[in-house]
Symmetry: C2
Subunit: 444 residues, 2 copies
C-alpha cells in the first residue's frame, strides 16, 4: 500500500506540472522520457538520430550512477524513408494520409498509378486468383478492434507484415493497407513489413483509418478507384546501430543477473514517447529505486536495445554477444498505460517467489493472470538462449494502438501519474527478484 | 416533445449503422453530409473541387424538390496550396507537422532557413522592437483553451489572422504559429491570414499543438532554435467560385423570405465534414421538414455559400446581388455538436414570436440565452443590408476546435444522433418563423 500512496502523492505533484509536460526535479523516469523525446527526437533504426540517442543514453546512464555503461554496436538492414504520398485519382482527386511501411519497395519519383482492388480482409486477398492483381494496386481493409491487452496486434498485424508479400505474389504493383490502429485521426500507422522467401518487394503503404473509411465507402458504391502511390524510401544494408547496456552491480556478482529491457530506437513519424522511451524510463527508474536503500543482492542490468522496430536486431545482438549467467528477464514495451496484471513463466520451485511478487502487487490493484510471461522482442532471444524465468507486468493498452507508430506518439500523450504507477510496480518486482538468494529458473 | 422523441428514436436507428457511417435510407441530412465528403471531397475556395461541389449541390437540391435552384458565380482572390514542410535544423533535426495559412507568402522550392524567435503571446510579438526580427522566423505560441461556445476563437484567432502581418512589419522572413486548436494531435490547423494595409506577405504556417509544445520546451531550455520553412503555395487572383441558392416557395410569395445559410466550400486538409457540410445538411433537411405537411406561408431560401473560408466571399456576393425583401436569417456553421442555446436579434414587436420559439425548443433541453444573435459570415452581409431579424441556434463547440481546419475534419467525426438533434431543433424554428403572418423585423 505504501507504494500506491506514494504513487498517488507523486501523481498529485506531477499533475500540477502536467500542463507543460514538466515533472518534479529528480523524477528519473520523466526526465528520461522527456530527454529522449525532446533532446533527441525520433530515433529510426540505423539513423544518425539513433546514434545520437546512444550518446545521450550512455551519458545519462553514467550520470545516474550505472556501472559498465557500454555501447555494443552492430549493423542492420535498414529502411531510409523517402517521400510518402498517395492520392486517389478516381472517382475524384483526393490526397490520402499515407506512410510507407518499413522495407517497402521503392517507387519512381513520380509514383506509380493503377486501379485499386479492394479486399475486406487478408483472407480475401489470399483467396484472390494467381495473377489477378497484375498491374494493379491492392487495398487491404480490416479495421482493428480495441483490446486492453493488445491481443489484436497479432492477427490484425498480419495484414501489414504478410499482406504486401502476398499481394506481390499475385502480381500487384503496389499495396496499401488500412493502418493497424484503433484511432480515427488522419495519422497513418507505419511499421515493418517483410518480403521473405524470394517475394519481390513492391511499394507498400498504410493509410489512416478515416482515409480507409473513405476508400471503403467508395468501394461499396461500386465506382472504380484509381490511386497514385509515391514511396521513394529505400531498404539499405549495413546501417550502424547498437545496444546500450548498463549495470547496477549486486552484492553477490556470482549470482545470475536480472535483465530488464526496453528499446532505444523508435519509428520516425513521432518521437517514440510511448514506443518506447517510456519503457526505458520505467525500467531504469525502477532499477535505481530497487537499490535505493543499498545494493541489491543480484546485479540488475538494463538493456536499451537498438533497432527493435525493424526486426528486433538489438535483442538478437545482445543474446549473441552475452554468455554470462542470467536468471530472469523482464521488458517494458507497451506504452505508459498502468500495469493491471502480472504473469509469470517460472519453475515450480519458484512458486513462492511468484506468490510474493503477486502479493506485493495486489495492493496496487494488479491482478495475477493465468497466462504465460513472454518478455518481449528485446529480451526474448536471451530468454530462449538461457531458458530464463520471466515476469510480465501487463500494461493497459486500451489506447496504445491509437498512437502506435504514428506521428502522434509524442511526450504529451504520457500521463505522468500512469508513468509513476509503472515505476512503482516495477520497483516492487525488482526489489523482490534482485534480492532472491535461491536459484531462479524457468519452467523446464 | 414529439420532436425530441422522434430524434431519440432516429438516433437509435442511426446508431445501429454508425460503425460504417451509414444512415437510414431517406435521411436527407446524412445523405448531404456523406455525399459532400465522400462523393466530392475537400472543396477549397476557387478550386476545381469547389466547382464540382456546385454541380453536385445543384443536382441534389433539385432532386430534393427545391425550386429556383441557381448557381450564382463570382470570382475570388484565392490561395493555391503548394508543398508545406517545416523542419527544425537546430538544436536537432526534427520534421514538424505544418500547414501553410491561406494567403501565406511563398518560399523558394528549397525553403527559407533562419533563427527562431519565440513569442509566448501575440502581445509579446507586438512589443518586440521595430526591426528586431530582420532575417529571423517568428514563432508565436499561445495555446487555445476549450470553450463550449467557441468564444476563444475571436482572441486566439488573432494570432493567425494578425500575427503574420505584425511579424512581417518587424522584419521577419517567416512566421510559424501554434495551431488555433484544442487537440493534441499532430494535425496542424490551417485558416486564412491577412496582409492588409501594405504589409509585405511573408511565408506563414501553423504547426500542430504537440510540435508547438516541443518548440516551447526547447525555447525554455534556452537552446537556439533554427527552422527550415517551405511553403510553396501561391495567392492567386481571379479564381472562379459561386453560391448555390434554392427556394422552397411559400404560400404567400409577397411576404419577405426566410434565409438559411451554410457554406459549401471547405479547407483542403480534411473533407469539410463539420466545416461545413454538416451545416448545409442541417439547414436543408430542416427546411424540407418545415414544409413536410404542406407549403409554409413564407418562402424558405437555402444559401450554400462559396468561398467562405478565405474571407466570406459568398455572403458578400449574395448580399450584393439580392434586393428582394428578406425577413429573418439563420446560419449553421459550427460543426454538428448538439444545439444547447437559442439567441435572438429581433424587434420588441416580435417578442411573442421569440417566446414561441424558445418555448418550442425548451422540451429539447435548449436554453434561452441573453446574448445577441449574429447569424454568421454567410448571411451577415444580407443581415446588415436589410436589417434582418436573426435567430442563432448555438451548438456545443466543446470539441469543435479539435477538428477545425485540420486533416481530421472527416465524416467519421459526426455523430448521427447529434446531426439529427440539430435538424430537429432547426425544424421547430423554421416551422414557426416561416408560418408567421405578421411583420418580422430586427431591433431598430
Amino acid at each position: 500500500m505504501r507504494n500506491t500512496l506514494r504513487a498517488v502523492a507523486l501523481s498529485a505533484l506531477i499533475a500540477a506540472h502536467a500542463a507543460h509536460a514538466q515533472a518534479p526535479e529528480g523524477d528519473v523516469a520523466w526526465s528520461i522520457l522527456a530527454g529522449l523525446t525532446s533532446e533527441v527526437g525520433p530515433r529510426m533504426p540505423g539513423s544518425e538520430a539513433e546514434a545520437r540517442a546512444r550518446v545521450w543514453a550512455e551519458a545519462r546512464l553514467k550520470a545516474l550512477g550505472f556501472s559498465n555503461v557500454t555501447v555494443e554496436p552492430f549493423a542492420i538492414r535498414g529502411y531510409v524513408r523517402g517521400r510518402d504520398e498517395a492520392s486517389l485519382t478516381a472517382p475524384f482527386p483526393f490526397k490520402l494520409a499515407v506512410t510507407a511501411l518499413g522495407y517497402s519497395g521503392t517507387t519512381p519519383e513520380k509514383g506509380i498509378e493503377g486501379e485499386v482492388v479492394y479486399f475486406a480482409t487478408l483472407d480475401a486477398l489470399k483467396a484472390a486468383p494467381a495473377g489477378s492483381l497484375i498491374g494493379k494496386i491492392a487495398f487491404i481493409d480490416h479495421a482493428m478492434k480495441r483490446a486492453q491487452d493488445g491481443s489484436g496486434y497479432g492477427p490484425y498485424g498480419q495484414v501489414r507484415r504478410a499482406g504486401p508479400a502476398i499481394a506481390s505474389g499475385k502480381g500487384a504493383i503496389g499495396v496499401v493497407i488500412r493502418s493497424i490502429g484503433t484511432d480515427s485521426h488522419r495519422n497513418p500507422h507505419t511499421g515493418g513489413t517483410t518480403f521473405a522467401d524470394g517475394a519481390k518487394p513492391i511499394p507498400a503503404g498504410a493509410v489512416s483509418n478515416p482515409d480507409a473509411d473513405l476508400i471503403a465507402r467508395i468501394a461499396r458504391s461500386g465506382k472504380p478507384i484509381r490511386l497514385n502511390l509515391t514511396l521513394t524510401g529505400k531498404t539499405t544494408e549495413g546501417l550502424p546501430s547498437g545496444n546500450v547496456v548498463a549495470d547496477l552491480p549486486g552484492r553477490d556478482p556470482s549470482l545470475p543477473l536480472i535483465l530488464v529491457g526496453c528499446h532505444l530506437d523508435s519509428w520516425d513519424l513521432g518521437t517514440g514517447a510511448i514506443d518506447d522511451a517510456a519503457g526505458c524510463a520505467i525500467i531504469t527508474a525502477a532499477a535505481l529505486n530497487a537499490q535505493a536503500s543499498g545494493k541489491a543482492l543480484r546485479t540488475i542490468r538494463v538493456l536499451w536495445a537498438g533497432s527493435e522496430e525493424l526486426g528486433g536486431f538489438g535483442g538478437k545482438a545482445y543474446a549473441a554477444k552475452h554468455a554470462e549467467p542470467h536468471a530472469l528477464a523482464m521488458e517494458s514495451d507497451f506504452g505508459a498505460g498502468q500495469v493491471w496484471r502480472v504473469n509469470f513463466t517460472i519453475g515450480d520451485a519458484n512458486k513462492p517467489l511468484a506468490d510474493r511478487i503477486a502479493t506485493a502487487l495486489s495492493p496496487m490493484g494488479i491482478v495475477r493472470g493465468s497466462g504465460k510471461a513472454n518478455g518481449g522482442t528485446d529480451v526474448e532471444p536471451m530468454i530462449e538462449k538461457q531458458k530464463l524465468a520471466v515476469v510480465d507486468l501487463d500494461q493497459d493498452g486500451t489506447h496504445y494502438f491509437d498512437l502506435h507508430h504514428t506521428p502522434d506518439d509524442t511526450l504529451d500523450k504520457v500521463d505522468p501519474a500512469d508513468l509513476a504507477q509503472n515505476v512503482a510496480a516495477w520497483t516492487e518486482v525488482l526489489k523482490i527478484v534482485a534480492n532472491e538468494a535461491g536459484p531462479i529458473a524457468a519452467a523446464p
